[in-house]
């Protein structure tokens, strides 16, 4: 197979004017490197600046970032619009808090146990949901589960403290002499969650499993006819992403010092979806960029609270209309085009 029809060749040439030059490749790599450098600097800032304020904002952003990253695995890579993430986040927080306060377990044992519980619940919910539904139905089914979980948390007084919530008065035990009882320790914990979820997603993305998920996202039917066990893959992604949410929940509890059923609220998940789309769903850096804008920007817009959120709303609309693939998506596309020989900036509309 070496001869192509003439027209085909010509079309291909029209699409990529010049062969990717070494230079351009290097510049693209440089841009990526700078991006990750900026990320590293941002991550280090709260500790270096040693400001309580930055530490706190950083902690919250890191936690939300970790949530967004873990949700991206399910929504962005596997293409499954399940909106029970907040419920598993809350489940992790409650389960670990109860294991620590009622059962007296050490935090570092409670964390994996809470994740295990979340994984089991996710498997029980996910199996029928993923098998029999997809699309909006999956979204609604998982949404209903999340709300049900919230109502149960609010009604099961004996266990969860009911609608009163639980006060969390413990800190994770020190690890290798590193204590988590100060603001900087808690920040480190949150940042660690972010890095761990990023590492997990990176591993998945690079693996056969990750490629299978992408195939399912792109075309479930085709994937199954190529021999991918669609149900098992989807379920694995759901369980993994839910367990990650639970893990983040376990550290949320001591950081926030207080958990209530409102933690399981579906609005949290829906906002996270907004974050993903804003940043670029299915891209590696998208959740981070989205989180910075969605949760970071209002912190720095120091104007009246009403208008701060109004401005955020306007911004979201503009981003979606102007860069429908999200910010990371458009950067990636631009760089890819550049690598292939197009100019880096041009005002031509992006498809």
């Amino acid at each position: 197979m070496s001869v192509k029809s003439e027209t085909a060749v010509m079309i291909n040439e029209a699409a990529s004017e010049t062969a990717p030059g070494e230079n351009r490749n290097r510049i693209v790599q440089l841009v990526f490197a700078l991006g990750w450098l900026a990320f590293a600097v941002l991550l280090a800032t709260p500790i270096l600046a040693d400001s309580r304020y930055l530490l706190h904002v950083g902690t919250m952003i890191a936690l939300h970032g970790a949530l967004a990253v873990s949700l991206n695995l399910l929504l962005g890579y596997a293409g499954q619009f399940a909106i029970s993430h907040g419920a598993f986040y809350g489940l992790g927080a409650y389960a670990s808090a109860l294991l620590v306060t009622s059962a007296g377990l050490p935090f570092w044992l409670a964390m994996p146990l809470a994740m295990l519980i979340a994984a089991i619940v996710a498997a029980i919910i996910g199996y029928p949901a993923l098998r029999y539904t997809g699309g909006v139905h999956l979204a609604l089914l998982t949404f209903a589960f999340g709300e049900l979980a919230r109502l149960i948390a609010a009604n099961w007084d004996g266990l969860t403290g009911g609608p009163m919530g639980l006060r969390v008065l413990y800190f994770p035990e020190p690890v290798l002499g590193f204590a988590f009882s100060k603001a900087s320790g808690l920040y480190a914990l949150a940042a660690a969650m972010l890095l761990v979820t990023m590492a997990i997603v990176l591993l998945v993305k690079r693996s056969r499993f990750g490629r299978g998920l992408v195939a399912i996202r792109e075309d479930e039917v085709l994937a199954s006819f190529l021999g991918i066990n669609v149900l098992r893959y989807k379920l694995a992604a759901y369980v993994l992403s839910s367990a990650m949410a639970a893990m983040i929940g376990t550290v949320y509890a001591p950081i926030m010092t207080f958990i209530s059923p409102e933690l399981l609220n579906v609005h949290e998940t829906i906002s996270l979806i907004g974050v993903l789309i804003l940043g670029g769903i299915g891209t590696f850096s998208g959740p981070l960029i989205g989180t910075l804008i969605f949760y970071g920007l209002p912190e720095f817009l120091r104007i009246a609270s009403f208008y701060r959120l109004v401005i955020l709303g306007v911004l979201i609309i503009l981003v979606v209309l102007l860069v429908p693939k999200g910010i990371a998506g458009v950067i990636r596309q631009r760089l890819e085009m550049y690598r292939r020989g197009y100019p880096l900036f041009s005002w031509r509309k992006l498809s």
């Binding site: 400001s51 309580r52 304020y53 706190h56 904002v57 919250m60 109502l151 609010a154 009604n155 007084d157 009911g162 609608p163 009163m164 919530g165 006060r167 969390v168 008065l169 926030m256 010092t257 207080f258 209530s260 409102e262 933690l263 120091r302 009246a304 609270s305 009403f306 959120l309």
Partner: protein, 369 residues
């Protein structure tokens, strides 16, 4: 984060304020924040206070809790990051309140709040530097229950409350007192807090031989319950309202027989106390807003601010919060209302009880004890 500065003084002391300025709880917190701001504004306008011979004015750093517990913690964190802020005001509702207060209890700040469950923190480790500007339910109920039972003449009532933070503690406090006052309480129901349609749960109270309903915990809910009671029929026409204002009852005064409510500060609508009248005028001038049934929450913090200022003058310090708290707890302050705090930080001020009986409205002062 809004700031108010008056820069003629020798020293400016920054005060923190956390409130739900947005979200469903802002009905309580917005007027409350206005009352606080108004008091500080008045102090600054008079040139501030004098502490150790220095003129001191105040600057408020305000954060929005958005009616959500996690945002409240976030807001509290942001206040606390200012090392110079040693006194924090705000939050009337227990969801965000408990979340933020857990954090304050770990910090060296004087926290002056209003929500009900703050009572559970007072007098306990971590609660030493906390003050609740509202009388505890235990205190309020002592006078409210016998008074309202007497006024309404009820024998058998049902309790209907939202399934939320405060309701269970309310039942624990009020039910025994009701029974002590000779009232039978055969039925207690909790409904989902976001409920708007009460028909099904009210049917549980229908035809039970009840002559009264004990309701709570905010105007929106109570107004809905009162209205739907009148629509469904077969339900009692007398109500005891724990908290809030008289508005829900007054609105349906032709359809119901009696309505008794707590006025946790002073009666703004029917009282004739000149101090209250003056305050109302000042409030309208300061905020540009009409007096509404929720306005009186503004009064909750208003006097407390002057108490705090006076305490600062007394102890000669603006940042020795332990001394300031102690001074506040040992004074009796004659402001718009008479205020006092217990050792533990519970308000011991007089309250009003509003009564609507067969279309006639009145209010009485009830003792704080």
């Amino acid at each position: 984060a809004a700031t108010t500065t008056m820069a003629i003084a020798d020293q400016t002391v920054r005060i923190g304020m956390v409130n739900s300025l947005t979200g469903p709880h802002s009905g309580f917190d917005l007027p409350a924040s206005e009352g606080t701001l108004m008091a500080f504004h008045e102090i600054n306008k008079k040139g501030g206070i004098t502490v150790n011979g220095e003129k001191v004015t105040f600057e408020i750093v305000s954060e929005d809790a958005q009616s959500k517990p996690d945002v409240a913690v976030n807001a509290a964190q942001k206040i606390l990051q200012n090392d110079d802020i040693r006194i924090v005001y705000g939050i009337m509702t227990s969801g965000p309140g408990m979340a933020a207060a857990t954090l304050f209890s770990r910090s060296e700040v004087l926290y002056i709040g209003g929500f009900t469950l703050l009572d559970t923190l007072l007098g306990k480790p971590g609660g030493e530097l906390m003050i609740r500007t509202l009388n505890s339910d235990a205190a309020v109920a002592q006078s409210f229950v016998p008074q309202s039972v007497k006024v309404l003449g009820v024998k058998k009532i049902g309790i209907i409350l939202p399934n939320e933070d405060v309701s269970r503690s309310i039942v624990e406090t009020y039910k025994p007192l009701l029974e002590k006052a000779g009232v039978e309480v055969p039925i207690v129901e909790y409904f989902q807090p976001s409920t708007t349609d009460f028909a099904p749960v009210l049917r549980k109270f229908q035809n039970q031989g009840l002559d009264g309903l004990f309701v709570g915990t905010n105007d929106a809910v109570v107004e809905a319950i009162v209205r739907q009671t009148t629509e469904l029929g077969g339900l009692p026409k007398k109500f005891m309202y724990r908290g809030g204002s008289g508005a829900p009852g007054l609105k349906y005064k032709d359809q119901i027989e009696g309505f008794v409510w707590q006025i946790l500060t002073r009666d703004l609508e029917f009282g004739d106390d000149p101090k209250v009248q003056e305050w109302k005028k000042a409030y309208t001038a300061f905020t540009g807003k009409e007096i509404s049934p929720n306005t009186y929450w503004g009064l909750v913090y208003y006097d407390t601010v002057f108490m705090m200022a006076k305490a600062m003058e007394q102890v000669g310090s603006t940042d020795d919060v332990e001394a300031i708290a102690k001074a506040m707890k040992s004074m009796t302050y004659e402001g718009v209302r008479t205020m006092r705090f217990s050792e533990e930080g519970r308000a011991r001020s007089d309250i009003d009880i509003g009564t609507l009986l067969n279309g006639k409205i009145s209010s009485v002062r009830a003792s704080a004890e």
